[in-house]
Amino acid sequence: MCYINNPPKDSAQLKSELSAEQWILLGKEAVDNGMLFLLLTGGEPLLHPGFFQILEGLKPLGILLILFTNGTLITKEVAKRIAQSPPYRIEITLYGATEKTYEAVTRIPGSYAQCLAGIEALLEQRLPLLLKTTITRQNVGELEAMRQLAHSFGVPFIGSWLLTERRDGAPSEVKDCRLSARECVMLEATDQISATEWQEAVLRGEKNSEENFYCLAGKSTFVITPSGEMNICIDLPFPSAKPLEIGFKSAWEEVQKFVDTAPPLSPICQACEDRIFCPRCPAWSYLENGTLTEPVPYLCEIAKERRKIYAP
């Protein structure tokens, strides 16, 4: 969960983050190397003291900017200023449809009302908004209510339920928060679009890629951490290349090389009959068992449950 776990003015945290000038410099170099889409995420990007300087510095470069935020810092004035340099898309995460559930997750009193006010302020400026949630045990009962809430604002809504361990490796309560494999798959089956996609994939006899990195990471996407390291994706802290020291292009080459030379899928996954139903990727393996290749028991269960429904 990306919420404000550090105090907003945490000086050690702020010191370790790139300055607005550094972010803009990296943005320019990335554009020179062909970057088109850029996602600003966190934590909470609006906590950066140079947030507007960054937004306003990046916009003229011709980037399609996407902003992920929890919405709680978006007042009417903030929304007005965002509308001067509007992102291509803004996504706000809902943690619940009621104050009680939302704040049970965020643990910040008042955050629910602030989030709703933020949504209203952005819509008043006609900014392109999408609402989403990560479904947990605490908020699953409000999934439909969250969908309705988004509907009442007239904006799209998406829910995902694949909760991973913490990225920094610290102990987490994920096992208590995430739904069981069976619950996930039953919930997914209630979504007509997902259900149809699975049915069609089975009919087409689709096979998952033989590649370990089957995604765009290291091929056309990368991540830059708050302290300026370039990595494969938000969940994989490799290869920690330093674009501000060695230049964007060399850092990007390091990331590509890491992915190109990554170990192949484990023999177990290669031989697995349920692989078509399995979202395992190197990041999942890394977060759940510290490897880039090995099976993830939670996903094995999910894949089995999907098979029961779609290819019994």
């Binding site: 088109l36 003229p60 011709g62 980037i63 399609l64 509007p86 291509y88």
Partner: protein, 88 residues
């Protein structure tokens, strides 16, 4: 007519993409791409041009007959007007 100033034409790989750099907001899923002739006309529209001037330039640059070039320019301008990307 001429193009609006607040869009930047970016060449990314084989694609010519128009990216808003002002206060324009695109639909959540819209990205405007131009083909090669569209990108050529867009560059010309940095300055005030008439449809006839564009058609002559297009016909010379891409070696198409002028009648065809006029049709292509009209179609292109129609789309630009509909999406509000040019000002008369």
């Amino acid at each position: 007519m001429r193009r609006k100033v607040n869009f930047l034409l970016r060449k990314v790989g084989d694609l010519n993409i128009l990216v808003p750099i002002g206060q324009e907001v695109l639909d959540l899923n819209a990205v405007i791409t131009l083909n090669e002739t569209g990108a050529y006309l867009w560059e010309l529209l940095e300055e005030e041009r008439s449809a006839e001037e564009l058609a002559i330039a297009l016909s010379e640059e891409f070696d198409v007959d002028i009648a065809q070039a006029r049709i292509d320019v009209e179609n292109f301008l129609k789309e630009l007007r509909e999406t509000g990307l040019v000002e008369d």
